[in-house]
Subunit: 395 residues, 2 copies
């Protein structure tokens, strides 16, 4: 076979992701044991139905779509009405007065991340990120020569270790990338830690020609439990940039609607936004999907039923505790990230697999010795997995 | 202001596109003269309504969307049912027996182009393209260090000059990029010329470790008039790769649904497809929008009313001829690309602008001395522009 693909893509394919490997092991297990004997906690596909109003909004869109340009191009930054409404929502969430011109609509949070990295990174720039971290981050900045610099956060609760992050900053640092509520740990970073980080970054930026951005990736902002709140990041620094998506909050992950917002206090905010708009266009997204934008606009004051996610979280905690595992109860997102008994995450995942439980080794998130469980699965599956967990712990 | 954006993005922004500049000049003109006195032939936003069946399909989707995972993630390569149905359609169009596994669904044709370039290009690789050409191509390959090598085709009809293309091939050539029916010229490349090019590329590839791909960008495949047919490209070489979109054929440009298909005869087709799938994921597209995929699946045997486009084409030709302009009547797409009287495209566009006519200078497409007109505008606008054209030619 001739050399059909770029060398770095070929290399990345050889290192298939752990999530993918566990997914495939799970498929094989389902064939062997039967689907109802397999408990798959590997993938994060939000299965709680979209808000009921989605039906009504989509019916209205159906009537509107068949007029001229009903599904046509729009400004690359998104539908003006959606940007304006989203700006109002983000103004409330972030405590910064935003207008539509301060954000662009993107192809999901992933599209926002790639657009941002393309816009600000030069080859060799570094992106500092707390570990464990969402493994796709490495690809997102790597396409443009960016290098991920993971900084381990201390378990079991994985609170933000600001000193460790700052110690990792070099001349080449361009972005500090935060994700709170966090995938995979479920941690919610405290307002105090975030403010301290922002203050330190502002101080560093005072003497840097190429400033460090604090990029806050917030697709799980809504997913906070036990009365926890998710502190806003945008207000903390002119160099703060916030992005998010509706994939989880409205259960429309397949339609790919996200956004990225810039602090108007940034000197050059207009230039950065114009550059993001151009990059969003030229990366081939062109604009975020029109049906999804109109749907999200119609659902902007709605959300999925969080009590379903909370019940799953508590059930998962019960099952794990009863099996003898120790962990910090996550207050955000819908993941558990816990120490693998024995210390070898792959070995423990294999032991779980023998009992029909599919988990992902922590090394798939840049931290060996842990496993990740995704609770975006039906309560019944979580509860029925209890005996399998006990067997795995005894095995 | 500090350095907020990457240097190459800053440079690209300084060279704002001619399409954009004319668009802005047009806005100013509309304010000055009134919208009904301005004849805007600058932008290609398909304004013919989607097929009437779109309404019915969308109503059905509305009822389906609110079940669990109704709008959730899917395999990154697209909905299996859509891939299978699209493979059947492409089998008929391209004369190559395709199954769903031989294509991936993308975020429009633009997403397909960017995904392909990221998958196959190394920095410094060259993409040979007939000029004039769609100006975004330069961005699409430039993100990954690819360099566009435009090769002028001879007017007035801009038929494919195979010898000129082959003469531009170097050791670093990785892709020959074709677009037929062509934007901006409306040319449809002949089966003979395509076959000769493919044969020559196959011969070159016999001794190359890194083969040259023939990438056929076909968003206008349906748009062929005067009995013209658009010859298939995929069958001509194992190194042929075909991509397209439903933006024009179904008028759903804003929803972003396209595809890219690989010839199963390629040694390593599976590897290339797996790499395209991974790149489509990690470029942040994740998957093409789910509502759009389901809509296009429901409309796969439909198309917009082409008689509307044909009537516009003929009206435009009449208006231009009566104003004394000479040109080859385009048989495909919905553009006219014609010599600027006097030879200076920018000067002629400015003369047109004085009469309320907005056209784009050919240098915006890599060929000075010509102007591009987009006929995706109402017949009435074309007809009402006749006097303005005459005035511009006399002025």
């Amino acid at each position: 076979m001739k050399q059909l693909i770029a060398s770095d893509i070929a290399q990345a394919m050889a290192n298939a992701s752990w999530i993918r490997r566990m997914f495939e092991a799970g498929l094989e297990m389902k064939q062997r044991l039967g689907a109802d004997r397999v408990f798959d906690f590997s993938l994060g596909n939000p299965d709680v139905p979209p808000p009921a109003k989605a039906r009504e909004v989509l019916h209205a869109l159906a009537d509107d779509a068949v007029r001229p340009c009903g599904l046509g191009y729009m400004p690359n930054a998104g539908l003006p009405a959606f940007r304006a409404a989203l700006a109002e929502k983000l103004t409330r969430e972030q405590g910064v007065a935003l207008q539509g011109q301060h954000l662009i609509v993107t192809v999901g949070a992933a599209g926002a991340l790639v657009t941002f990295f393309r816009t600000v990174l030069e080859a060799g720039d570094e992106v500092v990120v707390p570990a464990p971290y969402f493994v796709e981050y490495g690809f997102y900045c790597g396409h443009f020569g960016g290098k991920l610099r993971p900084v381990p956060m201390p378990g079991p609760d994985f609170a933000l270790d600001v000193d460790a992050l700052l110690a990792a900053v070099t001349e080449r640092t361009r972005v500090i990338l935060l994700n709170s509520p966090n995938n995979p740990t479920g941690a919610i970073y405290s307002a105090e830690a975030l403010a301290r980080l922002a203050k330190a970054v502002d101080a560093l930026n005072a003497t840097r020609e190429r400033p460090i951005f604090i990029l806050s990736d917030e697709p799980y902002r809504l997913f906070a439990f036990d009365g926890a709140t998710v502190p806003p990041v945008l207000a903390l620094s002119p160099y703060a940039v916030v992005l998010g998506s509706f994939s989880k909050s409205l259960s429309l992950a397949g339609e790919r609607i996200g956004y990225i917002a810039v602090n108007p206090a940034l000197d050059g905010a207009d230039t950065l936004l114009a550059a993001l708009t151009m990059t969003n266009r030229t990366l081939g997204y062109v604009n975020a999907p029109i049906l999804g934008q109109k749907l999200a606009l119609g659902l902007l004051n709605e959300q999925v039923d969080l009590t379903i996610y909370d019940a799953r979280r508590l059930a998962m905690a019960r099952v794990l505790r009863e099996a003898g595992l120790t962990f910090a109860l996550p207050r955000g997102a819908f993941y558990f990230f816990l120490q693998a008994p024995g210390g070898d995450d792959v070995a423990f995942c294999n032991r779980l697999l023998e009992q029909g439980i599919i988990a992902v080794p922590g090394r798939g998130f840049g931290m060996s010795g842990y496993i990740r469980l995704c609770c975006a699965v039906e309560l019944d599956i979580i509860e029925r997995s209890a005996e399998a967990w006990k067997r795995a712990m005894q095995g």
